[in-house]
C-alpha cells in the first residue's frame, strides 16, 4: 500500500471516530481529506504530477480529476457528473469546518444536510468507478 493510501485510510478512521464523538466539523475535514488523498493517488497513477502545485493542490487536484473523468467518458451518465462536481462543495465545507468563525456543525441533522448527503453522492460515484478501493463508511 502506498503512503498516500495509508494516510487516506487514517483520515477515514478518524472521520468515523469524530462522528461517533459528535465532533462533526472534524469529521467533515477528515472525510474530505480521505477523498482528496484517494483522488491524488488516481492522478499519480495516471501520470499527473501534483508535486509542483503545492500552493493550489486542492483546486488543481479536483480540476484535473474532473477533467480526467470526462476523458474517461464518465459524464455520459448525467448523474455522475452532477455528483462528482460536488467535490467543490465538500472542499468548501472543509474550509468552513476548519476556519469559519460564524459556522459550526453541532448536530447529526446539520451534519447530514450540510455535508453527508453530498459526500455520499460523491462516494457513490467514486465507488462505482472503483476509485476508492474497498470503501465502507460504517
Amino acid at each position: 500500500m502506498e503512503i498516500l493510501d495509508i494516510k487516506a485510510q487514517n483520515n477515514l478512521k478518524i472521520a468515523k471516530l469524530a462522528v461517533d464523538a459528535k465532533y462533526f466539523d472534524v469529521a467533515v475535514s477528515r472525510y474530505y481529506y480521505y477523498i482528496l488523498l484517494k483522488i491524488m493517488i488516481v492522478l499519480n497513477e495516471r501520470g499527473i504530477n501534483l508535486d509542483s502545485k503545492k500552493d493550489s493542490t486542492h483546486n488543481f487536484t479536483i480540476s484535473e480529476f474532473l477533467r480526467l473523468c470526462k476523458e474517461d467518458g464518465i459524464y455520459n451518465d448525467d448523474n455522475n457528473g452532477r455528483s462528482l462536481v460536488k467535490l467543490w462543495k465538500l472542499k468548501n465545507k472543509r474550509v468552513s469546518s476548519e476556519y469559519s468563525r460564524t459556522e459550526i456543525i453541532l448536530s447529526e441533522d446539520q451534519f447530514r444536510t450540510k455535508f453527508l448527503y453530498d459526500y455520499r453522492e460523491v462516494v457513490a460515484v467514486l465507488n462505482k468507478l472503483s476509485f476508492l478501493g474497498e470503501y465502507n463508511e460504517k
Binding site: D78, R82, V85, Q110, T113, K114
Partner: protein
C-alpha cells in the same frame, strides 16, 4: 461585467426556475467554483427527474466545454438569505418576519436543520433584520412534511 461562465449560469438558472417555478435558486462564486444553490432538499436528493434534468444542463453548458467548476446543490444557508416575508420554504412551510425584538427562535421552528442554521449563522440578514431576532414560522402539513421534517 459578467463573464462567459456567469452568462451561462444565468441561462441555466433561468431554465431551472422556469421548469420548477417554486424553487428559490441563485448562484455565487467561492474559492474557485461557481455554486448554483437552491432551497429544495427533496428535489436535490430524491427527485430523479430533477437530477437528470439539471445533470444534463451541467453537461451541455459546462462539462461539454471543459468547464468543471460549476456545481448545483441544495444549500439552506444561501437560500435563507433570499427568503422574504411570506415566502414558502421547502414543502409548504411558510415564513414571516417581524421586527418585534424576539431574541429567541420560536418553538414553532422545529425543523432541525432550519432552526440550527438560523441559530448558528447569525450573519444572515433578511428584510434588514438579524435572523435570530425575527422569525416566526407557520407550518402547513403536506406529504413531504412527514418524510423530511418532524412537524409538531
Amino acid at each position: 461585467m459578467k463573464n462567459n461562465i456567469e452568462n451561462k449560469i444565468e441561462e441555466v438558472v433561468k431554465k431551472i426556475s422556469s421548469k420548477y417555478p417554486k424553487i428559490i435558486i441563485g448562484y455565487n462564486f467561492d474559492e474557485g467554483c461557481y455554486f448554483i444553490w437552491h432551497n429544495n432538499k427533496h428535489l436535490e436528493y430524491e427527485d430523479k427527474e430533477f437530477r437528470r434534468y439539471t445533470g444534463k444542463l451541467l453537461f451541455d453548458y459546462f462539462f461539454e466545454h471543459d468547464i468543471f467548476n460549476v456545481c448545483i446543490s441544495y444549500d439552506l444557508d444561501e437560500s435563507l438569505k433570499e427568503y422574504k416575508s411570506n415566502d414558502v420554504l421547502d414543502y409548504g412551510i411558510s415564513i414571516s418576519f417581524k421586527d418585534n425584538g424576539i431574541s429567541e427562535i420560536p418553538l414553532e421552528i422545529n425543523q432541525p436543520d432550519i432552526r440550527e442554521s438560523i441559530l448558528f449563522n447569525n450573519n444572515i440578514q433578511l428584510d434588514n433584520f438579524r435572523i435570530p431576532a425575527m422569525a416566526i414560522i407557520n407550518t402547513k402539513h403536506n406529504e413531504f412534511d412527514q418524510t423530511f421534517f418532524e412537524v409538531a
